[in-house]
Symmetry: C2
Subunit: 321 residues, 2 copies
């Protein structure tokens, strides 16, 4: 165990400071970029992949500044960076560094899943350290936590768990996503009478043993979509002290009341993620057709979400900060 506070302990400090369980997804898509930014970067870097990298970073930087008072962490979705290759990764690295410099935690949503040496490679890059000639250093993609798949290879998740534990970082195993419908595999009943996703939850409970931070919350967490409120109740009972990453609030239709089902009675244990309802808030509502005010729109949407989630926590008798 590293001497820095573990991921869940750092999250709790942030939640108390910001009084918010919201986290903001950073999913840059070219089609939603404000035209004035597109113009600015293309005049400076050309209509190139390098230009896309700068466009995404400029966009993210303004979003980060805007949502900073209302969020503890950002959740970049790797797919949107990676599809542009090295310049996409450049934007990702710059975004990670900038968000860290502002005191935000980084939960990278990459849903990696592999075994053996490959699992170690992913875990070293995102959650640990990498060899660079004689030195062992943090990768520029190093995050505070990473989403991973847990269905393959008996030793896949344990390799991520080990490296996370050694570095004070965390993982979220993808179990119930917010997508509707979930896959038919997840819904299958096994001969024990549980569904496949419930079987996975019981495995996550055993993989996470001993990963508790000082506040008692495990650094081996789970993805539990806001769009499945009944399942969230079951998941919370099964994984009482795991941290829950809750997507699907906002843009994907989960309500604040549904999202906070995953929160424990102490007010902690879950981070609720919203991406496009915040970062692309300028496309609807009062800022509609004012793309040059995208950051203001994002700040307003993040503040609204924070308050809406806190109101839901209060209704549920769970608001403690």
């Amino acid at each position: 165990m590293s001497d820095i506070a573990s991921f869940t302990d750092r999250l709790i400090v942030g939640i108390k400071e910001k009084k918010s369980i919201l986290i903001v997804g950073l999913d840059p898509q070219f089609r939603f970029m404000p035209p004035h930014l597109v113009e600015k970067v293309s005049s400076e870097y050309g209509k190139t992949l390098e230009g896309i990298g700068h466009l995404f970073f400029e966009f993210n930087k303004e979003i980060i500044d805007a949502v900073l008072p209302f969020t503890t962490a950002v959740k970049p979705q790797m797919a949107f960076y990676e599809m542009y290759g090295m310049w996409g990764l450049w934007a990702f690295e710059q975004t990670v560094a900038y968000a860290k410099s502002k005191g935000l935690l980084i939960i990278t949503d990459a849903k990696r899943g592999d075994g053996s040496d490959t699992a170690n490679a992913y875990a070293s890059g995102y959650l640990g350290t990498i060899p660079v000639f004689e030195e062992t250093v943090a990768s520029p993609i190093q995050s505070d936590a990473l989403t991973i798949h847990g269905y393959i290879a008996e030793d896949c998740v344990p390799r991520f768990v080990k490296i996370a534990k050694e570095n004070g970082t965390g993982i979220f195993v993808v179990d119930k996503t917010s997508f509707k419908p979930n896959s038919s595999i997840e819904q299958l009943k096994t001969q024990s009478g549980l569904t496949v996703w419930q079987e996975l939850a019981t495995l996550i409970q055993s993989w996470g043993e001993g990963s508790e931070g000082k506040a008692g919350y495990r650094n081996v967490g789970v993805v539990m979509g806001a769009t499945y409120p009944e399942d969230a109740t079951w998941m919370r009972k099964t994984l009482p002290n795991s941290w829950f990453l809750v997507p699907g609030y906002g843009g994907q239709g989960g309500s604040a009341d549904e999202a906070v089902i995953s929160v424990n009675s102490d007010g902690f244990g879950a981070s609720v993620s919203s991406s496009r309802a915040i970062i692309y808030a300028y496309r609807e509502g009062p800022y509609k057709n004012k793309p040059e005010q995208f950051a203001l729109a994002a700040a307003s949407a993040a503040e609204f979400s924070k308050k809406e989630l806190n109101a839901a926590l209060e209704r549920a008798g769970k608001l403690t900060f």
Copy 2:
């Protein structure tokens, strides 16, 4: 459907030309890099991430030249590039471009899995085209095929299938990996009496409908480890005209006879992958302790593997080229 030949059709052309079902995994790991290459790149680029990028590309370039007569495709494992961030991606992009220039197909082993817009983003980057300002172009990470996870989100795999079909590219859904043991989830029996991996196989069969190339082989394939020969027989019956990506031959203990179980009686339908037994052949056998001859060792190991697989095909009565 694009007017270029589909992925499986291009693979078949390559197999006939090279008379080989072998594909070579490109998994660069710093600890196995030949010292003379380490010295060369660090004197030129410093002991930096950029230096690592050049090191991996130099290594891959010599490996590609060495194995070219014996293989139809290379299979880079993304984890080993991605862990170094943008300079790792740089090495990946250079490797892809170099291998393509030599006529090799690229099967990127990234095991991506997500739904909705995120699935589209991964599929656009690896298998289709991406928006770069007003233009729509191939990403520098564009590959001929990609490995993906099939357990989550009902619409995950179909999104990859759609973009692959439109672009003449292919996917391999991860089902039975070569890892021992497989995960306990995969082995669970459902109430129909099938295991979870068998349930996934039946889904892959339905997702792949209509993805056949001109030669009749589907471009929606499956990962089927060489280390599970009995399961390969079942998988072949269930997915008669899907292409199989077969890891686990060589380094991971699967024999040539086990690996070719996935090949159909026409001699096609499966590509057998070997990574470290070829690219790090200099660490064992006749080239042991001669790291400066790593390319020669790789060529020799690739030729041996090609011949060993063909001999196994002949024993099984499946050698048709």
